[in-house]
């Protein structure tokens, strides 16, 4: 388990500036959420961490040293389960790509099917799974790579609200059981409050960090905690920060 520090990250695509000095910290075993308006660069931030996009400036440090390619396990916004692979082989994909033999990869992925609620579906095709099961399969594919930090990009965004709630509870249990360190992108403020130790709020593109909000709710988290005044206040604070208008650069008149 590692400590992640992102410092002053700047990303540009051509002359489109996407990230403008983003900074973020996650200690081992923490779950840190990133929220921000659509298109502000949240996925781009994860792409940098996963080594897929070269930043124009800034650094990603893991335990104080520059991150290597194998620190982060990435779960993209779409589940991207391959139709030509069975669910088990999809789950084992990362291990196979990482150089493990097919049989060994399967043997390592298979024991996780029970705790992930996928037992019995090893030989099914992804199209036979429900939405929630597809997300769990995609998460299994991410987790089984045994990397230090999980990057989850809106893992429950496509689910109906009932399934989403049960998936959030499930993630809370699994995270506690396995001690994962998680960075999570979400659009859902309640989800961020329910799951996180800390929420990083980004502003519109080019994204900067607007505020970092500590979520001081006890663990393990339970759904009823969301009804407490503390949680309600946190939700209200996050919403307010998100909806702050873009501050215009101070004009001469204002300064005078």
């Amino acid at each position: 388990m590692r400590e992640v520090r992102v410092r002053d990250l700047v990303v540009r695509f051509g002359d489109r500036e996407v990230l403008d000095g983003v900074r973020l910290d996650a200690r081992p075993g923490e779950l840190v959420s990133v929220i921000g308006p659509s298109g502000c660069g949240k996925s781009t931030l994860f792409n940098v961490l996963a080594g897929l996009v070269e930043p124009a400036a800034g650094s990603v440090l893991v335990d104080g040293a520059p991150a290597s390619g194998s620190t982060f396990a990435y779960m993209p916004q779409k589940d991207l389960l391959f139709p030509w692979r069975t669910v088990l082989d999809n789950a084992a994909l990362g291990l196979e790509v990482g150089g493990l033999g097919k049989r060994a990869a399967r043997e390592r992925a298979a024991p996780l099917f029970e705790p992930f609620g996928l037992a019995g579906f090893e030989n099914a095709r992804p199209s036979e799974l429900s939405g929630g099961m597809r997300q769990r399969a995609a998460l299994l594919r991410t987790v089984v790579q045994a990397r230090d930090v999980l990057l989850l990009d809106e893992p429950f965004g496509a689910l109906d609200s009932l399934t989403r709630t049960s998936m959030q509870e499930w993630l809370e249990v699994m995270r506690a059981r396995y001690g994962w360190t998680v960075l999570l992108i979400t659009h859902d403020i309640r989800e961020a409050v329910f799951l996180s130790d800390r929420v990083v709020v980004l502003g519109p593109r080019p994204a900067t960090v607007r505020r970092v909000v500590e979520i001081d709710l006890p663990r393990p988290r339970e759904v009823r905690m969301l009804a407490t005044p503390t949680a309600a206040a946190l939700e209200a604070e996050l919403l307010a920060v998100l909806r702050e208008p873009v501050t215009a650069p101070p004009s001469r008149a204002a300064i005078d």
Partner: protein, 280 residues
Amino acid sequence: MSVRLSTPAVRRPAAPEPPRDAATPSRGRLRRVLPALVVVAVLVAAWQWAVTAFAVRPQVLPSPLRVVEQGWLFRDALWTNTVPTLQVTAVGFAVSLAVAWVLAVVVDFSPWLRQALLPLLVASQTIPIIAIAPLLIIWFGFGLLPKVVVIALVTFFPVAIGLIEGFSSVEREATNLVRSMGAGRWREFRYLRLPAAMPSFFTSLRIGITYAVTGAVFAEYVGARAGLGIFMNLQKNSFRTDLVLAAVIITAVISVALFGLTYAVQRLVMPWYAAERRRA
């Protein structure tokens, strides 16, 4: 309320589900080919009727009955000429497939070669085969080679293009996923681009293979020692229109059979595809 593990309510046994139409496979297939059979029957009947009604001379247009009759009488000659055509088709299409695969993979790995080769591939399709086939015989003689070249020329293009487009059909997010798992360009190809290209490959394979038999017959027509093409040419010169048509029927049957074969191979290579399509 306490936190609990939410597992799916429905548990599925690990055994594969039985195919939905397992009970009536032959009847299902029959129903699929029935419309085609009906159309063929109607056309043949109309042909038979027209030839009799207008008393057309068999040198101009023989009746279907006569075609079958004479075809049967000359079955030995037809068979000895079918075998070389099949051989030429098989070798020619195999070469064509090999060329298409090598080109497509090379082009997929090198953007530079893609820029360099794609215009050439397109240009190769503007070669008038009618003009070049006799030259091929002058250059390479009456053996296998000129025919293989003709078949490859007419069939490699759709296959190569189908593969190239199939390889590049993958989403950027999927590429990012396998890259994040540590894949380099080769593993990206093996685990993602190659399997993703299979549906497109089989579509283009079907287009290519239907041209293969025609290409073989054409190449033989221009010059060969044996084969359905040269057989047709000889029979035409002695006004045996019925035997020409008998040979045509054989080429049609071979083409349809090869076309059907691609589906069988597809089911072996991509068992997932049919189920996927059925669900979509």
